[in-house]
């Protein structure tokens, strides 16, 4: 059996201060991760009461196929992990006076679950705004 995991992460950032009172910030990251099991092989084992691919849905709609050792080969696909996540942040800050400042940030997260596991599809897109007022002394 071979188990393989791989991840790529890219990051970008920029900050700009065009004037003493004003600044802009940008950060972004993108991650792609995969994992899989391969070279897993179980032989079909004939026993008295097991039939591979014998469709019994007419008898039991909840159990279409009977159990067979060869079905364990499905672990290879079932154990796959494949996700992509992108995070983006944009921010602006402005100093109103020597003591007071304001700011606004935008957050974006997109998580794509391309191979759902037992927790089912966990894909999400999240967006939020954060505003704040600061007072220094």
């Amino acid at each position: 059996m071979e188990y393989e995991t791989e991840a790529h992460t890219f990051m970008l950032g920029a900050s700009l201060k065009p004037m003493a009172k004003l600044s802009f910030n940008l950060t972004g990251s993108y991650t792609k991760g995969t994992g899989n099991i391969s070279e897993l092989s179980f032989a079909h084992m004939e026993t008295s009461d097991v039939k591979l691919s014998y469709n019994v849905s007419a008898l039991n709609p909840n159990q279409i196929y009977l159990y067979d050792t060869a079905y364990i080969n499905g672990i290879s696909a079932y154990s796959n992990a494949d996700f992509k996540e992108m995070d983006l942040t944009l921010g602006v800050a402005y100093r109103l006076t020597k003591q007071m400042g304001i700011g606004l940030n935008y957050y974006y997260t997109d998580y794509q679950d391309d191979a759902p596991y037992v927790y089912r599809d966990e894909s999400n897109t999240l967006q939020s705004l954060v505003g704040y007022l600061t007072y220094s002394f």
Partner: protein, 648 residues
């Protein structure tokens, strides 16, 4: 000092770049300075719209399912000749808070505290994959004909009603019941719509007194508290076959407290420190119990049920015997004494030595003897004693040498296990010394010896060479009983070097080799590597003697040795820092590790791991900064498994 202050300030601004403007640090010399930030978060696209997908992208964000939440913070700093203190804090919601503070009273009393709380969203395993069955044998192979099939366990109707689906009222249920064999796996989720999460809280305190009358004498007391509260999924399974996996929601309430008084004395060349640690772990979580299905009557008579639980009087189930605890963590304590010393022999030679004695105790095993409830009539204890010493010598202005050694011995209590053998059939008397009773001897009964040396040589200006050797021996006292190697010898070689070519370029290279004889392995892990496997021989004539057929063909067929640790590993590392131009700085890193174990049965265990990355900072002019980075991770390993398949 100014540079360090600037570094810390820049670090803080990078760590929380969007929390506060960080526009201008007030450099005035006012004794009291501070900043208050009041803000709020508006969740434009929240988790409520994605029920059942609660974790992705928000695993540690407690506010992701709230439309509006706070985002406030404050910091305060006061400096005077006799009193200095600073506090800071950030509050987003009840499950996301951080506070910290330092107090200095004339350098006589120093107090430091940190408090942090965050939420961890957990997944919900819906158990969808845990549904399978065989047909009841119809006498002719390949003829899965529905035959009249009585409930395999007449004493537990609920078991039969649950097969094969969690809802016995479904249309297909009545028909399917007549065709199910005794071997089946099925599941019941008792709280299928639950969302799970836990909140982690850590509070650390450190109080230190410098005794003015005795310079060098320091008395202190540290405290660390960690809590985990919330709700998590707890799983349990009946004895297979048939495997009934059940899921419950479990209230989590765990608390760990560390209390650590300490005293230290620094004289001219000698420094001593003694500390005592008392740790208490208390699990006040919901106490889970489950009524387990009996072993089903097998599809091939006369293979009979009941080995360990439930219990029977004749053929009648003893009411309540099927109810047992699960998903419980025992309360425990740990007491540890540590004595450390350092002596500067002269300007070029230093000796460091220490000894640690600790006792870890499982405090929930002293009830009346009942192995199924984890009660063994006494507290179970693990003793450990460790001694270490290190000599550092600066042999010349360019060469330094370290010699070190460590010895640790551990001893864990034995536990007698009394199996309730075959009460139904009364074949074996349920008394100590019966066929299945045994004494559990621990893998923690072992001695570990480590010794080695490392050296650093500044060859020429800008080039430093490093090398080291370490020997480690693990000696396991119960190796024969546990079917693991008695002795593991590990030799580690480290080679490296730093090369500072000029002010704009610096490289570091490293190599680490590990050569291990008899790494930790399990000697009866897999079937014979040439692929043969045991065939189920059918039940014994005596329905209680499981070992006659199952043992020889399943357990005894495993004679191959496997391990997931290498007997040979090589690791290469590279780091580079360079500034090709004044506005651009870059750092590059990479690590490759290849490891294998060819001292196992079957194919070699093998691992290849590579990590690497490049980070760039570009500052075209003072008011504009670009950063970019790329990191890569790759890990693969080959192994061999042997999985016993009994009726699937």
């Amino acid at each position: 000092m100014k540079k360090r202050y600037l570094t810390v300030l820049v670090g803080l601004c990078l760590a929380v770049p969007f929390a506060t403007p960080c526009l201008a640090a007030d450099s005035s010399d006012k004794p009291l300075q501070g900043e208050i930030s009041i803000g709020g978060k508006w969740q434009l696209d929240d988790l409520d719209k994605h029920e059942g997908k609660a974790k992705g992208g928000a695993e540690f964000d407690s506010t992701a399912d709230k439309n509006l939440s706070w985002d406030t913070g404050a910091k305060l700093d006061y400096r005077s000749p006799s009193i200095n203190f600073d506090v800071d804090g950030r509050y987003k919601d009840g499950d996301d808070q951080t506070y910290g503070g330092n107090l200095d009273l004339g350098r006589i009393m120093l107090y430091k505290t940190n408090y942090d709380r965050f939420m961890h969203r957990l997944g919900h395993d819906y158990l969808d994959n845990l549904t399978a069955q065989i047909f009841r044998a119809a006498g002719t192979p390949g003829a899965p004909v529905g035959l009249p099939f009585p409930c395999p366990d007449p004493n537990n109707p609920a078991f039969c009603q649950a097969l094969p689906d969690t809802d016995p009222n479904t249309a297909g249920y009545q028909n399917s019941r007549s065709t199910i064999g005794a071997a089946a796996v099925y599941h019941t989720d008792h709280d299928p719509f639950a969302d799970y999460h836990t909140t982690h809280t850590t509070w650390e305190n450190s109080l230190t007194f410098n005794v003015p009358q005795l310079p060098g004498l320091q008395v202190g007391f540290d405290h660390r508290q960690e809590k985990r509260k919330g709700c998590a999924q707890a799983l349990t399974t009946s004895k297979c076959s048939a495997c009934h996996i059940e899921s419950y929601s479990k209230g989590i309430n765990e608390e760990t407290n560390d209390y650590m008084p300490k005293v230290s004395l620094k004289l001219e060349a000698l420094a001593l420190e003694y500390s005592f640690l008392h740790r208490e772990f208390n699990d006040k979580s919901q106490e889970m119990i489950n009524g387990y299905n009996t072993l089903t009557a097998a599809h091939i008579a006369p293979f009979a049920s009941s080995l360990q639980f439930p219990t029977y009087s004749g053929t009648t189930l003893n009411a309540g015997s099927e109810i047992l605890p699960f998903s419980r963590t025992p309360d425990s304590t740990k007491d540890s004494h540590t004595l450390k010393g350092r002596y500067d022999i002269d300007a070029n030679n230093t000796v460091i030595a220490g000894i640690v004695y600790s006792k870890s105790t499982n405090t929930q095993t002293d009830g009346a003897y009942s192995p199924l409830y984890g009660e063994f009539g006494k507290d179970l204890e693990l003793d450990s004693t460790a001694m270490m010493a290190k000599w550092h010598s600066r042999l010349s202005s360019t060469v330094s040498l370290n010699l070190f050694g460590k010895y640790q011995t551990m001893n864990n209590d034995n536990v007698g296990i009394d199996i309730n053998d075959a009460a139904l059939h009364n074949k074996y008397k349920n008394e100590p010394g019966d066929l299945w009773d045994f004494t559990r001897q621990s893998a923690y009964d072992m001695d570990i010896l480590t010794m080695g040396a490392d050296m650093s040589w500044k060859l020429v200006k800008g080039i430093t060479l490093k090398g080291g050797y370490e020997y480690k021996r693990d000696n396991r006292k119960n190796a024969d009983l546990l079917n693991v190697p008695e002795t593991t010898d590990e030799h580690t070689i480290k080679l490296g070097g730093d090369w500072r070519i000029n002010r704009t370029m610096k490289w570091a290279l490293g190599y680490k080799g590990q050569f291990v004889s008899h790494p930790y392995a399990y000697k009866n892990a897999v079937c014979t590597p040439w692929g043969s496997f045991g065939q189920y021989a059918g039940p014994a004539s005596d329905g209680a003697d499981y070992y006659r057929s199952y043992g020889p063909t399943i357990y005894d067929a495993r004679t191959g040795t496997r391990s997931n640790l290498p007997n040979q590993a090589h690791e290469f590392s590279l780091k580079g820092n360079f500034m090709p131009m004044k506005t651009l700085s870059a750092n590059l890193y990479g690590k490759y590790r290849t490891a294998k174990n060819d001292d196992v049965s079957g194919n070699d265990w093998q691992q290849d791991l590579f990590t690497g990355g490049l980070n760039l900072v570009l500052t075209p002019f003072e008011k504009l900064v670009f950063t970019a980075g790329y990191n890569y991770f790759y890990d693969t390993y080959d192994s061999m498994y042997c999985i016993a398949l009994y009726d699937g």
